[in-house]
């Protein structure tokens, strides 16, 4: 089983790397755009639409990783009240499963909207990139996040040892 955890850790590096690359490109592109526009009056015309895409990639690539790491922002005010590891574990598991389940319907709807964009043939303004690529990406990553949260909940309930020392 620990091989499985190791494998999961490896796989999780991939989206993180993708997000990092997208972010770096976003930074360099914004910098270059400002310099080119200010000094040479030659802005990067596609900068706005590229920014949108790079943002979606950055955020949604790491969303599953963020979720499995418990990286979401929580209020831990009542933590002292939840004594005992069993109670804690059950609470975390239930929350994880509930959050995962909650995402399934919107994810499906995102996919429908992306499909609609595809049937309309919606393209981006300058680069003529089909809009549904990003829609699909968002839908798939939202599904992934839901899956990861559900899995995490189930593992927390039945095989909590697997989650120990888990850090991507």
């Amino acid at each position: 089983m620990s091989n499985l955890a190791n494998f999961a850790r490896r796989v999780a590096q991939l989206p993180i790397f993708l997000a990092s690359a997208a972010l770096f490109v976003l930074m360099i592109m914004t910098f270059a755009d400002v310099i080119l526009r200010s000094a040479f009056n030659a802005p990067i015309e596609a900068a706005t639409e590229l920014t949108r895409m790079l943002m979606a990639i950055t955020v949604f690539a790491v969303l599953p990783v963020l979720s499995v790491r418990e990286g979401h922002i929580v209020v831990d005010l009542l933590d002292p009240l939840f004594h005992g590891s069993l109670l804690n574990r059950i609470r975390d598991a239930v929350i994880s499963i509930a959050c995962g389940a909650m995402l399934i319907l919107p994810a499906g709807r995102v996919l429908v909207l992306a499909e609609r964009a595809r049937s309309y043939g919606d393209l981006t303004e300058y680069l003529n990139i089909p809009q549904f690529y990003i829609g699909w990406f968002i839908a798939i990553m939202t599904y992934m996040t839901a899956l990861v949260l559900l899995l995490r909940g189930v593992i927390a309930l039945f095989a909590p040892k697997l989650l120990e020392n888990y850090d991507v």
Partner: protein, 438 residues
């Protein structure tokens, strides 16, 4: 009104059960919206928000400003900032604590997070103050309080979140934060002065630095100061070097800041390949968690609006012909109360969808209210029992009891209340600079 109140209570309960804020607000917002409209309508609204938010050009300011802060941090600027402040203030009684405040202010000018400012500065300033025999209460309190400046002096993540939640100009919010931020530094210096004049033992004077050494120390920070003026000046639209005129949108300012900080860190040879990757990774994760809470808060906001809470609240206020200023005072009291228990970002996310429409309809300036909310949030960071900055200090320093830190923080807290009163009483303090923007 009734539905929205139930919704708000439900969010509070879910959040306290440790459900992530994004999911708690999203769930309640979705279910509430469903009850007001239809099942299909609600799911579509949520899906649309997910798609649009992640591709919103304005939102790209979030990861870029976080990136800038982290790169500056990697560049090792905190030590130099402290050295400069020390060179100018160290010889005064309580001078090291004053230097800490000023250095925190300087760090805040390139970093948008209070917790990061406090954590970074504590590593640099605490050992120095210990060396000179400063009382633990004064040294820890000056870092905890100085750290709060991180979210007011631009760039500021909290102001960005407020701007995005309320569709207020982020550029104007940043510029509006400058004067109140300076006031913060000034008032905190007074708090240090007050502490050491009551108890001179708490903060003995250090050595005087010669002017030659002061100028040498300045060399260490000029690049970061230049970066700050580039980012804020560009945002203000005031950088006119013919034939080059620099005027940035917030995203562009953030991109310039991030790239500039990256170059500074590179030129100081403080940045390795793996260090860069680490910064990018941390930024992506932080940005994703902020996007999640923003989407959750928007879903909840949509529900609150469709349930008619803003009109109902406004109706109640007009029906009882309460003065807008009484309402404002009540809101501020609620914030200070909530600040005792809630962490800054959670407090902002939970309250802004409720209060903002009311405040706007009562005729208050959205930019001014943003600054006021951030100042109140700053106060909450050092208010017991849950003062996040105090906890950060406790985490770094360790051997100082939390009660000692809170005790030392008291004069700073009082200074903050004075500052809040001043900004509420004289809105021009926040609004004059943005009103002059091009």
């Amino acid at each position: 009104m009734f539905e929205a109140s139930i919704g708000f209570a439900a969010v509070l309960v879910l959040v306290l059960l440790r459900i992530p804020i994004a999911f708690a607000m999203g769930l309640v917002g979705m279910v509430g919206y469903m009850m007001e409209t239809s099942y299909r309508g609600a799911i579509s609204m949520v899906a649309r928000l997910i798609i649009d938010a992640s591709q919103d050009y304005g939102l790209s300011v979030v990861p870029l400003f976080i990136l800038m802060g982290l790169f500056v941090n990697k560049g090792g600027i905190s030590r130099e900032l402290y050295q400069v402040s020390y060179a100018f203030l160290g010889h005064l009684r309580g001078g090291l604590a004053m230097a800490t405040i000023v250095a925190c202010g300087g760090f805040a000018a390139v970093c948008g997070s209070s917790l990061a400012t406090a954590a970074t500065m504590s590593k640099v300033a605490m050992p120095q103050m210990r060396k000179y025999g400063y009382a633990d209460s004064l040294s820890t309190a000056s870092i905890a309080a100085g750290g709060t400046l991180g979210i007011l002096i631009p760039p500021s993540v909290i102001l960005v979140i407020y701007g995005l939640l309320t569709e207020t100009s982020i550029g104007k919010l940043f510029i509006a934060g400058i004067v109140p931020g300076m006031l913060g530094i000034l008032f905190y210096l007074c708090a240090v002065f007050f502490t050491v004049s009551r108890n001179p033992e708490a903060g003995p004077a250090g050595q005087r630095t010669t002017w030659r050494d002061r100028l040498t120390a300045l060399k260490g920070v000029w690049a970061v100061l230049a970066l700050f003026f580039l980012v804020i000046g560009g945002l203000y639209g005031a950088l006119d070097f013919w034939p080059i005129h620099l005027a940035f949108s917030p995203t562009e300012a953030a991109g310039m800041g991030a790239a500039g900080a990256f170059l500074i860190a590179l030129s100081r040879r403080n940045l390795s390949w793996s260090g860069t990757l680490e910064v990018l990774k941390e930024t992506a994760i932080t940005a994703a968690s902020l996007f999640s809470v923003l989407i959750g808060a928007w879903i909840f906001s949509n529900f609150v609006n469709i349930a008619g809470l803003p009109e109902a609240l406004l109706g109640a206020v007009t029906a009882y012909s309460v003065s807008p200023w009484v309402v404002m005072l009540l809101i501020l009291l609620i914030y200070i109360g909530l600040g005792c228990i809630f962490e800054s970002l959670s407090m902002l996310l939970l309250t802004v969808p409720i209060f903002f429409p009311l405040v706007r309809d009562l005729g208050f300036d959205p930019v001014w209210f943003g600054v006021v909310v951030v100042v109140v949030t700053e106060i909450s960071l050092i208010t017991p029992p849950v003062g996040m900055n105090v906890f950060v200090l406790k985490g770094v320093v360790g051997d100082v009891p939390t009660a000692t830190i809170f005790k030392g923080v008291t004069p700073f807290w009082v200074a903050d209340i004075f500052r809040l009163a001043l900004i509420v009483g004289i809105p021009a303090l926040a609004l004059y600079l943005p009103s002059q923007m091009g």
